[in-house]
């Protein structure tokens, strides 16, 4: 990962018109993506230059300490921020996490590898399937079966993963819109999410906590006409997305709320360990799917949208564009998906078919041992990372050869992003905290693990 703003996307104009770095350096960008020049006073404020001056001009004030959260209505993850404010300006903040510490890592160490999947669902509960895939890949790397995964399973993983990514971004954007008062676009986005959830429900049997991915493949094949339905839903979704954009991106008030708020430079973002849409908003085109392709991501054409300023608006725009890119991937995946099995034929790793389990002692034993003892993973350690909804989602697993992880650690992007929240809101107004927080998209389950 480097700090260069070299684009991997080529010079293709993206649908939403995210400016590529070349275009930024070149100057004029046509279309709605043309960022208006930030007013100089705002720019000064971004660099916190203005703060000292303000003290000189205005009456001397005494800073006030005020507590925000952990049940603050808009902090949809549970977080507590202790603010030191001067009027409306945040002078200092102490961000405290840990209100949703559900001991994922310890629970994982007490469960078999297969039993960990439901826990991963509840890490980033906005895009559970991406976590499923991430964890499955980690265990598969340890088992050494990554190359033998059935192709169809890999495609299905990509499809469900990208659908999950869309729902993740929709929820993040919708919630952020709601928090700044735009309730209507929020409900529209949730409506789209609902359509996608219904699709996933048809496939996985659950609306939100799917536990659909298995080590060695996925639980079951796509239902009939899934691809057609997916296409139809995506078509509808694009329309609604356009409507939402017209209410948000083209709305002057929304732009004013987002432009230049919560700015972070690419260097700082990298230093803080940021990844995902938040890092890309600063102009660094790092995307695990592109830089370290896994599954079949190297077979798709898609662009990595990047921002230029690293402010809240960039985070909105990057997410909006990523939704479209995910749709592009989905479109290609639907075209390319081959026929075949969806689960590896390896009885020590994958479950035998249910019919055989009920009728033959061999499959019964296999099933029994996989359930009770778990999949025996050879001793070793692995760090496997994928592009989650919020960024690089890494699983570090140590195996001792038994059926459960000896140690399982999650590199949770939310946790890492939240570290920088204090810096982002320094000097901003109280009203800026919530959108900034919302667009960092801190998800409690993932952050506190």
């Amino acid at each position: 990962m480097s700090t260069t703003t070299q684009s991997k996307t080529g010079s293709k104009k993206l649908a939403l018109g995210m400016p590529t770095p070349e275009e930024i350096t070149a100057g004029g960008i046509p279309g709605i993506s043309a960022r208006p020049k930030l007013p100089p006073d705002l720019m000064a404020k971004l660099n916190n230059e203005e703060l000292e001056e303000v003290e000189d001009i205005e009456l001397p004030t005494e800073p006030m300490t005020i507590n925000m959260g952990p049940s603050h209505p808009a902090t949809h993850g549970t977080v507590r921020i202790i603010l030191t404010i001067d009027g409306e300006t945040v002078r200092d903040s102490d961000v405290q996490v840990g209100y949703l510490h559900r001991c994922f890592e310890k629970e994982a160490e007490a469960a078999t590898y297969t039993q960990v999947f439901p826990y991963t669902d509840r890490l980033n509960y906005v895009s559970p399937l991406l976590n499923n895939v991430g964890f499955a890949l980690a265990v598969e790397k340890l088992l050494g079966i990554v190359d033998r995964l059935p192709e169809r399973a890999s495609y299905i993983r990509v499809i469900v993963g990208e659908i999950s990514r869309i729902t993740d971004h929709l929820t993040c954007l919708g919630a952020s819109a709601m928090e700044v008062g735009g309730f209507t676009p929020f409900l529209w986005m949730i409506k789209v999410r609902e359509w996608l959830w219904e699709l996933l429900e048809e496939l996985t049997g659950a609306r939100l906590t799917h536990s659909y991915v298995r080590i060695g493949g996925v639980a079951q094949d796509l239902p009939e006409h899934f691809i057609e339905k997916l296409r139809a839903v995506l078509e509808k979704s694009v329309e609604v997305l356009g409507e939402c954009e017209s209410l948000l991106v083209k709305n002057r008030i929304f732009r004013d709320r987002m432009d230049g708020v919560g700015t972070i430079s690419a260097e700082d973002a990298i230093a803080w360990g940021w990844t995902g849409p938040c890092l890309r908003s600063t102009g660094v085109p790092y995307d695990v799917r592109k830089d370290h392709p896994y599954l079949v991501y190297d077979r798709f054409e898609f662009d990595v949208p990047v921002g230029s300023v690293g402010d809240n608006y960039d985070r909105v725009a990057v997410r909006l564009e990523e939704i479209r890119q995910s749709m592009r991937i989905l479109d290609q995946a639907c075209k390319q998906i081959p026929a075949g099995p969806v689960l590896l034929d390896e009885p020590r790793i994958c479950m035998p078919p249910k019919n055989a389990v009920y009728n033959t002692i061999e499959s019964m034993i296999g099933h029994f041992k996989l359930i009770v003892d778990g999949i025996k993973v050879p001793p070793g350690e692995v760090y496997s990372y994928t592009e989650g909804g919020n960024g690089e989602l890494g699983f570090y697993i140590v195996s001792d050869g038994s059926g459960r992880p000896y140690r399982c650690h999650v590199r949770a992007p939310s946790f890492i992003h939240t570290q920088a929240l204090s810096k982002l809101i320094l000097g901003a107004g109280i009203a800026d905290i919530i959108p900034t927080f919302g667009l960092i998209n801190m998800i409690g389950g993932e952050c506190d693990r």
């Binding site: 088992l143 050494g144 079966i145 390896e346 009885p347 020590r348 790793i349 055989a356 009920y358 009728n359 033959t360 002692i361 061999e362 499959s363 019964m364 034993i365 296999g366 029994f368 041992k369 009770v372 003892d373 778990g374 050879p378 001793p379 070793g380 350690e381 140590v398 195996s399 001792d400 050869g401 038994s402 059926g403 459960r404 000896y406």
Partner: protein, 602 residues
Amino acid sequence: MAETPPSPMKSSIAAALRETQSPSPPPVAPPAAASAAPAGSAPSSAPPPSDIVTIKLDGRDVQAKKGANLLEVCLSNGVDVSYFCYHPGLSSPAVCRQCLVEVVGQPKLVPACFTPIADKMEVNTATPRVLGIRRQMLEFTLVNHPVDCPICDKAGECTLQKQYQDWDHVGSRSSIPKVHKPKMQDLGPHIVLDAERCILCTRCIRVCDEVAGEKQLTMAWRGDREQLTVAPGHQLDNPYSLNTVDVCPVGALTSKDFRFTMRAWELFSTSSVCPGCATGCNVEVHHAQGEIWRLVPRENLQVNKYWMCDEGRFTYKNVRHKRLTSARIGGGRGQPAQITSIDKAVAFAAERLDRLASGGGTIGLVFSAQTTNEALFALSQVAQKLSTRGATIRTYVTGTAARPERADKILRSADTNPNAAGAKLFAGTGAGDASALLSDLKAGKLKGLWMAGGDLPLTEQALFDAAPLVDGLELFICQAVHDSPLLRRAQVQLPAAAWAEVDGSFTNNKNLVQRLRKAVTPQGDARSHLELIGQIAKKANLAQSEKWQVSARQAFLQMVASVSSSLPAGADPAQSVAAGFASADWGREYLPVQLRFANSRG
């Protein structure tokens, strides 16, 4: 899936973990001299060099004793070979044909468990031919095996399941209907047979023949009708019958006591020692949800090898049976005692004890042979303090009644107390026995009595009759696990934790100091004897911060140091109890092992 070699980084963790998960960690280092060990164990002196031969095992040179069992050589060198009928404690009939390996030069595969090794032998255990045969044998074994795992008690600790998963995991090619046999055949007072599940390994027959010495089981009929059975009109009723359940690799033989009570994979295992008699068989306490569900023998070649008696297995029932769960004070002389907190009872006892000692009264201290060494050591320390304060101390060793009629030469001892040796050591040379105690009480020689353990070798009725004797005492402190008529007359009744609820050690009849581990939490307010003695001593200003008051481990260390300090050099543990302590070791602290992840016990 090929077995990948453990990465270097991993080895330390894996090693550490393997150690914690090992089902049979030796509880205490064996005494230096091996003469205490039962005859038949491995000779202690190294064999002469001429006996050592070198064989090629999977291309690797391995040295072993000439004529040793090939299967044992494989297993001890980390080469995994599947087997059913072989058991280290039994003879090898080579009936299951599961351990077939390739010996270069021999046209046919040979059963490893029946093959002595010879010099320059070349053995291959993982060639496609061997693996194929192994798979075919498993397929053959499973042809008539019922689809029973969900309702089978062995599921989760079944050797057949393990071997199938490790070596076969291929579907059956047979489509003929399975042969049906009796599903629930009563073999004896403790055992039920499911003949369909039986894989005819004959381990159980050999256990009866070779361990219990009673030929009660045999195979009848031939071919796919072959079936385990008892002789007509007979029962599988030898005192070691439940060992057949342990050795059974499948769920054919099940214990009536344990079956359908708890699934094996939900159990946790804590290693401990059987409190049933002075032999001190090493056991695993299998517990879950705060309750003990069964005891199974744990390998210790010096004491019990792989076995234990049926009576010993049921000692776990006493842990929950008739327990005293809360402290009571103010009883005696026909007065009912009042339930109170431990702290109040301890304070009450300490105050009376202090008064009695300062007044120069005679105090009887009872060292129960059912109590751990640490508690008894603590009591002996308190006895010294009491005598320096002016009290006259008389010590007694008691315990439950002996049962010479049940003793045998295999494992069962006439002495039903697990710690008689320890109790005698700490009570001192002048200690009386239970009858001395009763006569002293009758003669009114004692002003106070403090019992660490409420057992007396009397029948229920005799105890009831003897109980009024204590009414003349000024102070009667009784720490007891179980309720009894004697306890009811004590002025201070303290609930003590049972053997499975404490950390500590017992000294067996061969003077081996063996470690007990806490498996379940004490019932009610119960505390260990050691803790109760420590608290009373503290309240009575007899001891403030002695090492033995800190923890059971500290008590153990102090005890070993104190006992072995007065020991002459080169003492033989077989002759002196103290020498047994000198070589005792507390061992590591283990978390209870969940059987589910401890792999099959088989």
